[in-house]
Amino acid sequence: MNKIRIIARIDINNDSVVKGKCLEGLRKIGKPNEMSKKYYEEGIDEIIFLDAVASLYDRNSLINIIKQAAKESFIPITIGGGIKTIKDIRDALSAGADKVAINTHAIKNIDFVKEAVEMFGSQAIVGSLVARRHRYRWEAFIDNAKHRTNKDAVEWALELEKAGVGEIMITSIDNDGRQKGFDIELMNSITRLVKVPIIASGGAGSSNHIIDLFRNTNCDAVAIASLLHYEIENLKEIKNKLISNDIDVRI
């Protein structure tokens, strides 16, 4: 198994980094490029920028942020939020992004994902799956967790894999921003069936939660936000803690 990847997840509204709970009540907590540069210098493995409101208000405010980040941070950069045309993807990649994460428009039109994969390659397309728990199953949500789809999250993950995405990022709406750990069952229900790399998102409040995730799931990467943004632990501490628990990361 490869080293696990620690990814900084930076949700953005206009030109500010925002964070809430369960993807709601978003508060402004910093500047995207200041934070991405800091995390790069501290040794983050990747950066994901997500435009928190793009799919609701039909705009794409990330291009300038991506351009700046790509000048300062020589690691993979993913952009998501409001991606709905081949041109959106082309613009993101030519600004310096390596991958785009697609949720809403993938659910609305899976052929769009297939077309994007054919055009840019699997490695450039991340399926973004945002799920809410209903007892023992999970439902996929769109528009930054605002709207339900009646789609089963596990079945949807399989459809994304079949459409050719190179990775799937799974965000648990229930656990997002609560800093109480990941939805291990959700991750397992998907990694059991899907062979593409999985990025787990939603719930990291300490390095122990990340250790718990990798001991109990077959995920490949973790996207963290609160843990870094609120400086609960710094990246060095997190990585050292993982290594001392036999979880292989890049130092």
């Binding site: 490869n2 493995d45 790509a70 020589f74 993979p76 600004a95 310096g96 490695q123 450039a124 890049r250």
Partner: protein, 212 residues
């Protein structure tokens, strides 16, 4: 110094430009034959599908231009698919012919029980018997982690061109190569943090030495 980044409408080339700029070099995107043949060094980027990339190269006449450039013996750095395309053939979406500059083929990694595909992540470079001095890996620490994102690997016929290998499960594959003045990296130096930037800097130095 004039470094051209081959432009054939594929992938994120902005990051390669940005990486060159860190070392004061303005990388120029071009698919123009005269520009390329006049260049002091060429970077051949690439992500995505082999067959489609070959079609894009041919439609711009770049397949012939690259072969002519290689004959000038000036330095070239192929990155990821850019390295793979230098080989005889690839098997992505059915067998297709590559540029045939290097002997060997490109094949898909198998799905293994404990591994995921695409192979994505930071993997250490395992040194071959070939010396790294005066190559793109000069002064790169042995076992340094580089960022890989791929499902295909190249299999050079001549193993003496392999500078470093990397592992996918128990499978060892070519991570970097040198054949005359042709260099290749399966990983993305422009995405491998300071260790990757060292590779870019080394390539600039190689180009610079050739100019003297």
């Amino acid at each position: 110094m004039n470094i051209i980044i081959l432009d054939y409408g594929i992938g994120n080339v902005q990051s390669i430009k940005n990486a060159l700029k860190i070392f004061g070099i303005k990388g120029i995107l071009s698919s123009d034959r005269d520009d390329i043949l006049k260049a002091d060094g060429v970077i051949f980027p690439g992500v995505g599908a082999f067959k489609k990339a070959m079609m894009e190269l041919r439609s711009r006449g770049l397949d012939e231009t690259i072969k002519q450039y290689i004959k000038t013996k000036k330095p070239l750095l192929g990155i990821c698919l850019g390295m793979q395309l230098l080989f005889d053939s690839g098997e992505e979406f059915g067998k297709s012919k590559g540029l045939g500059i290097l002997q060997g083929n490109v094949w898909k990694l198998p799905i293994l029980d404990d591994e995921k595909l695409p192979n994505i992540g930071w993997n250490p470079l395992i040194k071959s018997d070939i010396s790294w001095s005066n190559t793109v890996l000069d002064n790169v620490t042995i076992n340094e982690n580089m960022y890989f994102i791929h499902s295909y690997v190249c299999n050079p016929l001549d193993k003496s061109i392999v500078l470093a290998n990397a592992k996918y499960g128990n499978i060892s594959f070519c991570a970097s190569l040198k054949y005359n003045n042709i260099y290749g990296c399966q990983f993305h130096p422009e995405k491998s943090s300071t260790a990757g930037l060292k590779v870019i800097e080394n390539f600039i130095n190689i180009v610079h030495q050739e100019q003297l």
